[in-house]
């Protein structure tokens, strides 16, 4: 545990002044304003927690801070001086390093190389000095108590070890600002404790830390300050000592005051789907639940809790190793999405661009894709039938588009989502699974999607809604299943359904004292 990486003295920062300051940062993507005039200050020797729901803009901020994205407006100041990060290397040169949420590592390279790629130690003739790289990698790994051989190819490591490599990579730069984007998501209890030690040491060295986490216990354990984002805006900041968990939850999910969910008459009908003993070797196990006609069943959990994986198994994308699906009491084996659609189960995936919409095809062709059997005659297309079917469902969803032969790629996120939902409604399904149905779409489209879900349920469709947004889960669901680490952590209904119970079960925190 010897500190061998020498720490630079940051004399240019005055005592009490922030080392890094973001002012009025704005970043817009087609169809969505990811950051809307946000500000953030990081102080040397202090941990600032960045808190917000999924889609609040945290990841966009991290990417802006590390030079992956360039902001549309606002300024970044390092030690009081304005800076512009055109590339990731510029940000690194300014002493900003990050442990990204997604592993931005290279499977074919060794542990040592992954730590040092882009700034490998050089020896004679400017050649990479492998000996120095290995020994420095060993030092850094020892510093975070990671028992990894620097020469192991990364592909041979598990997720937790890869994460340690990502941490080591961030520490290989002598950084004044360390960004940690959900660093504990994949770590075990012991590893998390070690990470806390590391954070304490980085603090002691005078580095500023931006710590992004969904877990309130750890935020209170290590953070000195907090900043809360909601829907791409800055809603609050201050000292941790001045707030309670409840305050933070309120700030984070406070949208329920300005978001109205449709009134719903809750009268679920017969059982339509029953899942018994679903298991997968690595993704989930012991999944049991039932779903009734006219019901909206919410699936809540942290990102990576295994919710989407269960849904994709149900839809025939992946194969469960154990378990039975019954539809209307009949055991139904679903080995492919094609079979799932025949059985009346459809899936609106979270990743719209990759899995949901065929963005290079026109709207009407997207809508009719799984229903071509109905719009065609003897296998030959009938365009008028296709347009009629597409128009029927897109009208119902209040789609905003110039024409039905417009490519889906030209629509906003919310309207793309409507096309995907229309596509599935056209197949007249019995069970519709919506995976993060309003992620990254504007408020107006969100309301439309919510209203429509209520309408579908009222018509007797059984709806499963996977969502990480607490207001949405509370506002829409009749019943909620909370998943954690691939297992069902709780099934909540009625009075038991509160923001606190959801957060506690999802994060695995015990009941309040």
């Amino acid at each position: 545990m010897q500190m061998s990486v020498e720490s630079r003295q940051f004399d240019d920062v005055q005592a009490g002044a922030p080392v890094l300051e973001l002012r009025d940062i704005t970043k817009t993507f087609p169809g969505v304003k990811a950051l809307d005039g946000v500000s953030l200050e990081l102080y040397p020797g202090q941990v600032t927690a960045l808190i917000g729901e999924n889609g609040a803009g945290k990841s966009t901020l991290v990417k802006t801070l590390t030079g992956i994205y360039q902001p549309d407006g606002g300024a970044i100041h390092v030690a009081g001086e304005p800076v512009v990060f055109a590339t990731a290397q510029d940000a690194a040169a300014a002493g900003i390093t990050a442990i990204h949420q997604e592993t931005v590592l290279f499977d074919e390279l060794t542990v040592a190389e992954n730590i040092f790629i882009g700034h490998a130690p050089r020896g004679r003739f400017g050649l990479i000095d492998w000996t120095a790289m290995r020994s420095r990698a060993r030092e850094i790994l020892a510093r975070i108590d990671a028992e990894l051989d620097p020469d192991t190819p990364l592909r041979e490591l598990g997720i937790a070890s890869k994460h340690l490599v990502a941490i080591a990579r961030a520490l290989s730069v002598d950084a004044r600002v360390v960004v940690m984007d959900e660093p504990t998501a994949a770590l075990s209890h012991k590893e998390i404790e070690e990470l806390y030690d590391l954070v304490d040491r980085l603090k002691a060295e005078g580095r500023a830390i931006l710590f992004i986490s969904h877990k309130f216990d750890e935020i209170f354990r290590i953070a000195d300050r907090y900043t809360v984002f909601r829907d791409g805006t800055h809603v609050g900041a201050g000292l941790m000592a001045d707030v309670t968990e409840a305050d933070l939850v309120r700030m984070m999910v406070g949208r329920d005051v300005n978001q109205i969910f449709p009134e719903r008459r809750k009268a679920p009908g017969d059982e339509v789907l029953k899942v018994v003993g679903y298991a997968h070797p690595t993704e989930f196990e012991d999944i049991n639940f039932t779903l009734r006609r006219g019901e909206i069943l919410g699936f809540y959990g942290l990102v990576g809790a295994g919710r989407s994986e269960v849904m994709q198994a149900l839809f025939g994308i992946t194969k469960p190793s154990k378990g039975v699906t019954r539809i209307d009491g009949q055991i139904t084996v679903i080995r492919s999405p094609a079979r799932a659609v025949e059985a009346g189960i459809v899936y609106v995936p979270e990743d719209r661009g990759k899995q949901g919409a065929v963005i290079g095809l026109p709207i009407f062709q997207n809508v009719t894709l799984p229903s071509l059997g109905r719009t065609s005659r003897n296998g030959f297309l009938r365009l008028s039938e296709e347009f009629a079917l597409a128009r029927h469902y897109t009208d119902r969803l209040d789609l905003r588009a110039a024409a039905l032969d417009q490519d889906v790629g030209n629509l906003s996120g919310g309207n793309q989502q409507k096309v995907v939902i229309a596509k599935w409604l056209a197949t007249k399904p019995r069970v519709i699974i919506l995976d993060e149905p309003t992620k990254g779409i504007d408020i107006g489209s969100k309301a439309a999607v919510h209203a429509f879900m209520a309408e579908l349920a009222a018509e007797g469709l059984a709806v499963i809604m996977v969502s990480s947004e607490i207001p949405e889960v509370l506002g829409m669901s009749d019943r909620v299943i909370v998943m954690r680490e691939g297992r069902i952590a709780a099934e909540l209904e009625g009075d038991a359904l509160t923001p606190e119970t959801l957060v506690r079960h999802a994060a695995g925190i015990g009941a309040p004292a």
Binding site: P337, K354, Q355, V358, G360, Q365, L369, D395, R400, L404
Partner: protein, 330 residues
Amino acid sequence: MSDTSVTPRSIPDRLQSPAARLLASWELLLLVVAVAIFIANSLASPYFLNAWNLSDATFNFTEKAMIAFAMALLIISGEIDLSVASIIALASTAMGAAASVGFGTPTLVLIGLATGLACGAFNGVLVTRMGLPSIVVTIGTMSLFRGISFIVLGDGAYRDYPSDFSYFGQGYVFWVISFEFVLFAALAVAYYVLLHRTNFGRTVYAIGNNVTAAQFSGIRVERVKFILFLLTGLMSGVAAICLTSRLGSTRPSIGTGWELEVVTMVVLGGVSILGGAGSIPGVVIAAFVMGLVTFGLGLLNVPGIVMSIFIGLMLIGVIALPRVWKAWRA
């Protein structure tokens, strides 16, 4: 955001009329190029505007175009088959071997088609069942199929085809209209209908655009791709029959390098090498363009190898120019 309260209203089917779309299409641009080459050729050589010469010129592209139709579908679906010319060699060798032991024309045709189908099925199994990248698989089978021809024939040749076998590559249906040209036209129509007028064609586009979303929409992706490899193999078999009949002999080097000409024809026709876009009319016009360039320059005594510069420049130019234009405007 405030407009969500507006009552639903119908979205028009089309923003532009089909005619307006055609005006801005790649196919029209290509057609203009084809006509320009035609006119330039007529002016440059007095021998160009001669029915028999023009008829002869069609042989420059008909056989390749037959393969190009199936290849277009395959490339639109996001795969590629570089073994087509080798399938020609193998199918031709199989027919030659059968002919040498006295089989008649109908049997030879069947053998040619069956060999093509078998080769296509072999590629298809490796790509769709084993999940291997098609470019590597078909570089491998490209060597394998032609390699088998070399093993069978060495530096020899099959020549003893029955006399009525020559009809496919040398026969004329009516006046200057050759059997090959009629077959080419019929296949063009058939592939046009298949790609643009059937459910199957629609799924090909969906797969090429976004294979995951297509799978997530309940399309049986692997089955569609397997059928496309079968079709490409089959068309190579058809081309083998025509080419063998036209040449009247089989050597293992038959059709060498055609795979790249076929791919060039497909890409020149506006099919995206990344999949998801392209049309049969585009490929048909590209076939004429390539045929006319070859023939016209041939009349001017420009050797074939120099024409390939034009083809290569066109291939890169047609993709590069729109991108340069876009970058320059931005």
